[in-house]
Symmetry: C2
């Protein structure tokens, strides 16, 4: 039982480390959030005081509707979604169809590099969830 | 009355011309679709036999949920949304907050150029709707 709790704690730590590393890895990244496919928050590395529960639920809603649109338009499974607002990007990446990694980035960020870093984080996260 | 009908017909033609021109303007563009902010189809230039009503409704749903997420995350108003699937991109652009222009593009398309062309089309469409 104790061993099981230790493994679980270690996984939680590893997930948190991946998120904080992603946030620290590039100036353009403002924060990130890991959410289950059902819209429940797992962990985050955010500065802002945004409502995590609300964002988690809406993130899953965007993924779910987008999934249907891509299938309907013959574009297969979703790899990523990027939303450009007036003050920056919100990037959503699929994590092994079980979770969604949301990354906040600045408007002038190097999007290609952020996608590479975030994709690497997704692969690491996929082994933990 | 007849004059009014002629102006209306001319607008419909102009909208259709903008969409077909956008589709023909770049090899990477597979098709495009103009939808009201409420999710009703206005016009399209698509090859595929996808369900336009369904896509229109879902396009508006993605825009609406994304709008809330961007505001909640302090990113202001949405400029565009791009979704990368296994077999290509779906790009959604705001048209004067009254409609959404959806562009289908190939995976290896020059996304920067497509954004430029699509943005130009959005400006032209904004004057017609």
């Amino acid at each position: 039982m104790q061993k099981c709790v230790r493994i679980m704690a270690s996984r939680v730590e590893q997930i948190h480390n991946i998120l904080t590393k992603l946030k620290a890895g590039h100036d353009g990244v403002e924060g990130c959030l890991l959410v289950t496919a059902q819209g429940l928050p797992i962990d985050s590395a955010l500065d802002s005081k945004a409502d995590e529960d609300l964002i988690s639920a809406m993130t899953a809603a965007i993924s779910s509707v987008s999934e249907r649109v891509t299938q309907e338009m013959g574009k297969g499974q979703i790899n990523n979604i990027s939303i450009l607002g007036d003050y920056g990007y919100i990037i959503l990446l699929d994590v092994a169809a079980r979770a969604v990694l949301t990354v906040l980035a600045k408007t002038d960020a190097n999007l290609g590099l952020i996608f590479l870093l975030a994709k690497k984080s997704c692969n690491q996260l996929a082994e933990l969830i």
